[in-house]
Subunit: 335 residues, 2 copies
DNA sequence: GACGCATGAGAGAGCGCTCTCTCACTCGAC
DNA sequence: GTCGAGTGAGAGAGCGCTCTCTCATGCGTC
């Protein structure tokens, strides 16, 4: 059943024997060392081909102390909640592409329960990976700091621990843009639906909202969400109850805006006539809502790319300066 | 900067020295062998704690020939297309959870270009993983067969190569359910938007559609899509042109149904009054469309779970019989 | 009281690869 | 013709762990 199973896989030594050269020479050929005569290189490559030789990863890792692997640690909602989070999709996919293109293997780890974060920590300590990329960690999470202390490169998509280099998008700028857009349309009773407040992105978007509202002399109307559609729908219901006459909502992400849209429809409000809605992120789905969602475009894939580049740069002794990505307004129909 | 970097990580030998016992004893304690006196176990554990010892993964792997890792291979759309595919999110997340819970590390690999599938093949051959789980591979893909030949457990989410054990949801049954529902509502000009036809799921859904239509004496109206929203919107435009009087559409997945919904809105059709729309998958977003999407519920997470279980079973010498998951109709507003 | 048998601990040979060191040889310069 | 530099190949010592084998000790049995 196993033509080339673990048991009888060819070793470097077998290749050397077949080619009639030393192990060292084979190793040199495999690793592309310059100091090897063409004739030798030729005969070795043939032996490799004939035997179907593939270097054993663990042995190489043991000898070189390099793994060519990177852990991609993504926070996982604690309550078995399987969300179809578009951010997960976009970020994980893009990060994978970039890392694989750089010859790094991607070890995906979910950090949710206390147990799972211990596993991550242990895994990294076991020397499995050369570096770590964190995604959507909550602000108070101890993991970033723990990992940073292990002495290998750690980067984060979004700011978390000050010690961890990161790429971040312009949350304050984007949120301010959104609120000003609503004000510019003559909206005055502008509410907001926040993300989970233990995440720095949520805090920043909320702060920017309240700052602008205060500066322009308007009252803040706030409801809490957690970045999911349901929470957006629930928060919207809450807001409508708190202030039935509100005329605009700034949701801290598009998913919640979509939830809010549904609640507004159910309550008989017309969007944008009665209530304007604006989201944040500009996910693909924002183009397909009814009405199409006006939102703040924050380039998810660029963000992932920037974070990966930061990590790859660190491997080569590059700088660990934070990267900031611009945010801008995309006007569609909902506001 | 590196208090516990690769360079000076404690080894098993160091632990042995500190505890004043042999390497063997330490190994026995670490691996929970029974034949070890409590006093020794105690002193070893203390040394481990004091030194912060964590076994070196590669060394262990080299000695045991087990990796405790699984490759999760997901097909990647060739054209840099970053879709926020909810299936990716749900499946990858759920599979990760299950695999991690079983003590397996997840190595995520995207299979898109010829180069990337070679990398996957190479990686597996290098003995990096104990098994492979394939996700959404296209039917003609050579990778499943290639990997299956490597002599280690390979499973697939969805049917691909006959040689590869898989879990599958009931595509024919689900599609038939959808079409019959439309017929039951008195719809007669029922069109379909297909998935990419090199995927078996797409083929099955299409075949079931045409079968039912033929059996009930109605004409098939088919447009091609590729499971993305845009393609659904485009296909809908095409259909409307082909038959302006059609009264229902069965989209082979929800994302395309969402696209179709937008085109219908733009063309002034009312859903479901003028045209009924039904999707397939029952993704979270289906609850938030306007009108809410009637669809075939195919339990994505159960599907991922079943596939992982199949793989884990294979590790223990379990059966490789295909698993079939039921599909059922969820009636909302669009049909 | 002598023997045999568990039981628990230590020694050390790998696992497959890399990489430094060493050595043989060739070629150019004086 | 001799010497030195440069080039290419081989030997072998690890990398850190597991696991078999061997050995010492303690106990029960007749």
């Amino acid at each position: 059943m196993a033509p080339k199973s673990e048991a009888n896989r060819p070793t470097l030594e077998a290749v050397a024997a077949r080619a009639g050269v030393s192990k060292s020479s084979v190793s040199r050929v495999i690793n592309g060392a310059s100091t090897v005569a063409p004739s030798i290189r030729e005969v070795v490559l043939r032996a490799v081909r004939e035997l179907g030789y593939v270097p054993h990863a663990a042995a190489r890792h043991l000898a070189t102390r390099r793994t060519d692997a990177v852990a991609l640690v993504v926070s996982d909602p604690p309550k078995g909640l399987v969300s179809d989070d578009p951010m997960f999709s976009a970020v994980v996919r893009q990060a994978s592409r970039k890392l694989e293109a750089a010859g790094k293997q991607v070890v995906l780890m979910l950090a949710g329960s206390e147990e799972s974060r211990a596993r991550v920590s242990q895994y990294v300590a076991a020397g499995h990976v050369d570096g770590v990329m964190l995604v959507s960690m909550h602000g108070a999470d101890s993991l970033p700091a723990t990992l940073a202390r292990k002495g290998l490169p750690v980067v984060s998509l979004g700011r978390t621990n000050p010690a961890v280099p990161h790429a971040e998008n312009d949350n304050p700028g984007g949120a301010a843009l959104a609120v000003h857009h609503l004000l510019g349309q003559g909206r005055r009773r502008i509410a907001t639906i926040t993300g989970p407040l233990d995440m720095i992105a949520s805090q920043e978007r909320l702060t920017a909202y309240t700052d602008v509202m205060r500066d322009t002399g308007h009252r803040s109307i706030v409801a809490l969400g957690d970045f999911t559609r349901v929470s957006g729908a629930d928060a919207m219901r809450q807001l409508l109850q708190d202030d039935p006459r509100l005329d605009a909502v700034f949701a801290a992400n598009d998913l919640m805006a979509i939830g809010a849209l549904r609640t507004l429809r159910e309550s008989g409000r017309r969007v944008p006539d009665d209530v304007a809605v604006i989201g944040f992120d500009d996910i693909e789905a924002a183009r397909y809502t009814s009405p199409a969602l006006t939102t703040i475009h924050s380039p998810m894939t660029d963000w992932a790319t920037a974070t990966v580049d930061l990590l790859l740069g660190l491997f080569d002794g590059g700088p660990d300066a934070p990267v900031l990505l611009p945010a801008n307004l995309v006007v569609r129909e909902s506001a």
